[in-house]
Symmetry: C2
Subunit: 335 residues, 2 copies
């Protein structure tokens, strides 16, 4: 038995017997968030550092964070949630890194396991969030849940029978780029036209607002008095709640847009549940979504599927990453 194996075995023992936590890390474009995770909960205060520029600098920052936590805690393993398509076997980011320029191709797992003697699991951040949400909801034995992250963009993760579904080339769940329009009307940040994300994300909401308000005078909407670049999505939602008809039109159209994508996913995968997470999820009217979904799907499909706000909030990615490592250690101990 080599030292890594020995470490792994003693780690397993600890996980199973003493509830040793994992370290969950959520690597974002502007900040890195890390915390101890156990039993689908944070087991420490999260630490937050700004994301450095450059792949080498990010890797060093990750190692630094791990070493920091190791000073005070025994850790069973490290789960890292990152933007991008990730080959989880090699722990390498192989595409679509969004706002982490230079990150594509980085062999995260290999580098970090070379510096720190702990099992490291690297996974797409929407996947770890989906895993965390499914586990937190007790969906271990359910057929299918899809977590939709409505943020500035749209991310997604699919859990089938309690396991992450990663696709044939690690790219499953890129649901933000489902095409929902025919006319090349809106350009998505990815370079494709009419992606779901271009309509139903925070960015899409804002574009819908600008389209609806174009040419509208202040006597028809209080929003028309606000400069386009100062108009926030929150202001639109507030105006809608206060009865502004143009604002209500924007919010309703946004719900229609959300539903276009959900209906396609429902017809494809017939899930038990959609979990809606991300910064925009607080604006979602779940009753309206469910009503639209029933209207936009074949009988039984929209009626059967649940649509729920996600439970773990902004730490879902981090908690899911940590929990994935713990569950893998436990599963490998049992086989």
């Amino acid at each position: 038995m080599n030292s890594a194996d020995r470490h792994k075995e003693s780690g397993l023992d600890q996980v199973l017997k003493t509830k040793m936590p994992a370290l969950g890390i959520d690597l974002g474009g502007t900040k890195i968030l890390a915390a101890l995770v156990h039993d689908l909960k944070l087991a420490s205060e999260p630490k937050r550092i700004p994301t450095p520029h450059g792949a080498a600098e990010i890797l060093d920052a990750l190692v630094g964070l791990i070493e920091d936590f190791q000073k005070d805690h025994l850790i069973a393993g490290v789960g890292i949630a990152t933007a991008g398509i990730v080959n989880i076997e090699t722990g390498q980011v192989i595409g679509s890194t969004g706002n982490l320029p230079g990150w594509e191709g980085t062999k995260i797992k290999k580098y970090i396991e070379g510096r720190i003697v702990l099992p490291v699991h690297v996974e797409n951040d929407a996947n770890t969030a989906a895993y965390g949400e499914a586990k937190a909801a007790g969906f271990e034995n359910k057929t299918c849940s899809i977590t939709v992250t409505l943020g500035t963009g749209i991310g997604g993760g699919i859990v089938l029978g309690g396991k992450l579904y990663r696709g044939a080339h690690w790219a499953a769940g890129e649901i933000g780029h489902i095409r929902i329009g025919l006319d090349n009307r809106r350009l998505c940040t990815c370079g494709l036209f009419d992606c779901w994300e271009a309509y139903a994300s925070g960015r899409g909401f804002r574009m819908t607002a600008q389209e609806v308000l174009s040419g509208v005078s202040p006597e028809h909407s209080q929003l028309a008095a606000i400069k386009a670049d100062e108009l926030t999505n929150e202001a639109v939602v507030d105006a809608a709640t206060a009865g502004d008809i143009m604002a209500q039109k924007i919010v309703n159209t946004w719900h229609e847009h959300i539903c276009s994508g959900l209906a396609g996913l429902a017809h494809t995968l017939d899930p038990d549940c959609f979990f809606i997470s991300g910064g925009m999820s607080k604006f979602v009217d779940y009753e309206l979504i469910k009503e639209l979904l029933v209207d936009r799907t074949l009988p039984r499909i929209g009626e059967s599927v649940e649509v729920r706000p996600a439970a773990l909030g902004l730490t879902a990615g981090l908690i899911g990453a940590g929990q994935l490592v713990l569950d893998e250690l436990i599963a490998s101990a049992r086989t």
Copy 2:
């Protein structure tokens, strides 16, 4: 051991040792097709009878067909492919029966197993076709294949890791009703707007042709001389091949429409392969589809997925249904 179990056991023995076939039955809106199936091939000439009107009459016809085959053959089990959403545990059609009015709610498995002492498996026809195609392609251990049946409508079936994926409420793979447009422009036969089927099916192709040719004079297209209700999809494809620019526009637009749905499925499930089957598949330009798919998807996703013509042709549903029964008998013998 009761007589059904004894029969089952001796059947299993026969399947494993003597290559006993199953009977595959494809129940369509106008005809019922039945043949012996073994090793993913037809093991007899297919028998074809017209589909009677009414659920009781269809059930009697199915029993009659099975008894006909039993006169001359030992059969391990019966696999029935039918339109509609099927609960395979109860063998009951629970929704969306399309052109089989009165069929919804029918307890097919229970009725037939009450009349004939053989294991009966009832399954959605697009699912059995997808199972047949995946097995015929040797995809037993592949992550994901999606079979897209481009006929008058669009059907679909999803095979993950060699197993049919049926969803949480038996309704997965209703991919014809993925929404690909935003404007409620085309009504689908299901009553929803802008379903993929309303554009990329045979019916959708014809509607595109009518839209493109509306107001076009014979000097601009040879197709303009043909009356709208006499214009066949084949005539449009032939004219396109012969260089008619309007016909080429129709055919290209149809390929764009096909690709809209494929791109959404590729972003969602990241499959190894799409198998394209059905009556319209002979008009598909696979090189063009692949090119469009690369253009309409994130890097790696469209590039990675294969798009292939289905191998089993119009008997895919029947062969898949028969093979499902055989594989289930073999699997249950091994556990």
